[in-house]
Amino acid sequence: MNAVDCQKIEKSFGQGETQTKVLRGIDFTAAQGEMTFLVGPSGCGKTTLISIIAGLLGSDSGSVSLFGESLSSLSARDQILFRRRHLGFVFQQYNLLPALTAAENAAVPLFAAGMNRKLAVKKATDLLGALGIGHRADASPRLLSGGQQQRVALARALVHEPRLIICDEPTAALDHKSGESVMELLSSSAVHPDRAVVVVTHDNRVFHFAHRIAHMDDGVITHTESPTTQLSHH
């Protein structure tokens, strides 16, 4: 069973003459135990596709199944609960809450699930330790470097042990060394036989971390390949 199974996804924005078709019948899969990269030029529809996969945006047609569960069969509330339980996110701009410490930020998905605050922060702190940033658990995000902030974001994506992690340009705001370091962590800590990782990225320096790379252009997946093939093009 694929972790992500998208069939003939179509999505347009706007109406009438200003209507723009962003996704044109996309078929996309991501397998458990793999890190799948979604690459392509700006505006090709990558973000729209991951928004639909995450249940943050509805599609005009087609179907999305996550671990065999059809998203369209879930009510709006159940979609939120499904996302809370099974999905983790890493964003380009980290999206850490400035009011919280690193540990509290990492614990946010546990807060959403109603876990006792102390326990949640303890669990998040332990995870930060495992990701090599335990010593900054009590620091405010503004006092952390970009690489450290992305590690906190990674901890937030992992803390509730989700089955699918969606990363949007996780290395775009980082220098090469920090980006490499974050991807190594992502590869070592997120990839798991029961879990899939989908990464949207422009950064071809980290393509070697992918098990599969899906190329998108103009709203369609043009081809899918292994990173070794991709690397040979560069």
């Binding site: 973000t47 729209t48 991951i50 928004s51 995450a54 943050l56 945006l57 509330r77 939120i80 609960l81 996302r83 809370r84 339980r85 996110f89 964003f91 380009q92 701009q93 999206n95 809450l97 400035p98 009011a99 919280l100 509290e104 946010v108 998905p109 807060f111 959403a112 699930a113 109603g114 605050r117 937030r156 949007d168």
Partner: protein, 377 residues
């Protein structure tokens, strides 16, 4: 979840402080002005309440309040005494006149005559003995009068006051309730008051009466009014009439304006700042939505934030009102000032509800946030 909400709010210290102070300002202005209004209007019945023994007040039909009274005929007392249900009836003489001190300080005063036989309306004393007013050429004055006529001086026996060309000796300081007019209240014996008021042909401003045990006040007042054509009111009715008279003069309008401005400014500031807080934290709220926070959870968070602002703001505002009220009460003219719990409850309820409603309108913005926007850089 609530702790998370409070942390978010406290993190934006400037806005948090602005909202708390705006609510505090609204709470202060509304409670302060409302308590002043209530206190001032209560003062319109001060001298009525001070005649503790009287249940009924009888007056000319044109009389609308204690301070603007047309005297009755001298026979009015006997007439009222003759009604069934009246235990006793006495003349009550009240005159607004000029007074002067030895240093030449002038003021309009309210002179009240107390009948020596019954001692009805005798003031409670702060300094001295009330019975001394029955001595010839004696008087007692209230603290407001002391402050106005003898500024900066403490009472000392033997102080003089001149009323209608007669020098009276002040024998003490009474605890007469502060009057709405702000005039000094001078108590003398009824005989002295009549002598000082000799230029007038009528010396019965009101007839005060006590109801006989078991008598029906409404029935007695109705009978007196129907038989005599005078106005007969219970103490409570006369107080209410005096309150209404001054209310109808437009006295409360300035207070109403200030109260309204206080409410509008406080609530507008709070609502606008809360809206700005939500707008500036839109990314954070969107992230929370994406990470699995439901709308009810977000609503609880925002309610907690609004509640904290309201509780802190109202507490600070109310503390300021209590402090200023206590401070003002030390001034003679503001002796009657107090903060009724009804004023605090009403003002705080209105401000609290409207502020939470304003926060609710901000929550609409959160509802409208699109989770997919979280991927926008």
């Amino acid at each position: 979840m609530i702790a998370l909400a409070i942390q978010m709010l406290r993190h934006d210290g400037a806005k948090f402080l602005t909202m708390v102070l705006a609510v505090a300002l609204a709470a202060f202005l509304t409670q302060n002005q409302a308590s002043f209004l209530v206190a001032f209007l209560s003062m319109t019945g001060s001298q009525i309440r001070d005649v503790r023994e009287a249940d009924l007040w009888v007056m000319e039909p044109d009389t609308e309040c204690f301070d603007q009274a047309k005297p009755l005929k001298e026979t009015a007392v006997q007439t009222v005494r003759g009604f069934p249900g009246v235990e006793w009836a006495l003349p009550f003489l009240k005159v607004d006149t000029n007074a002067r001190t030895e240093s030449g300080k002038l003021s309009v005063i309210t002179l009240i005559g107390v009948p020596e036989e019954s001692r009805v309306g005798e003031p409670i004393m702060q300094i001295g003995d009330a019975t001394e007013i029955y001595q010839r050429d004696s008087a007692v004055i209230d603290p407001g009068g002391m402050s106005l006529l003898y500024p900066g001086q403490n009472f000392r026996p033997g102080m003089k006051i001149r009323i209608h060309d007669e020098w009276l000796t002040l024998r003490g300081v009474s605890m007469a309730s502060p009057p709405f007019t702000g005039f000094p209240i001078v108590h003398v014996s009824h005989a002295t008051a009549m002598r000082l008021n000799r230029a007038e042909t009528r010396n019965t401003t009101f007839v005060v009466a006590r109801l006989a045990a078991g008598a029906n006040a409404a029935k007695v007042t109705k009978e007196i009014a129907q038989s005599t054509g005078w106005k007969a009111l219970t103490r409570e009715q006369f107080e209410a009439a005096s309150w209404k008279f001054y209310s109808d003069q437009g006295v409360p309008n300035l207070f109403y304006i200030t109260i309204t401005v206080g409410l509008i400014v406080g609530i507008a500031f709070t609502g606008q700042t809360f809206l700005m807080f939500v707008k500036e934290n839109a990314r954070a709220f969107t992230t929370l939505k994406v990470l699995g926070f439901t709308h009810p959870q977000l609503a609880v968070m925002m309610f907690a934030q609004a509640s904290l602002v309201v509780v802190l703001g109202l507490s600070i505002g109310t503390a300021m009102v209590v402090a200023t009220t206590e401070l003002a009460k030390t001034l003679p003219f503001f002796r009657g000032l107090y903060l009724p719990w009804e004023v605090t409850l009403t003002c705080c309820s209105i401000i609290g509800c409207v502020t939470v409603m304003a926060a609710g309108m901000s929550f609409y913005k959160v509802l409208k946030l699109q989770p997919a926007d979280v991927f926008r850089a």
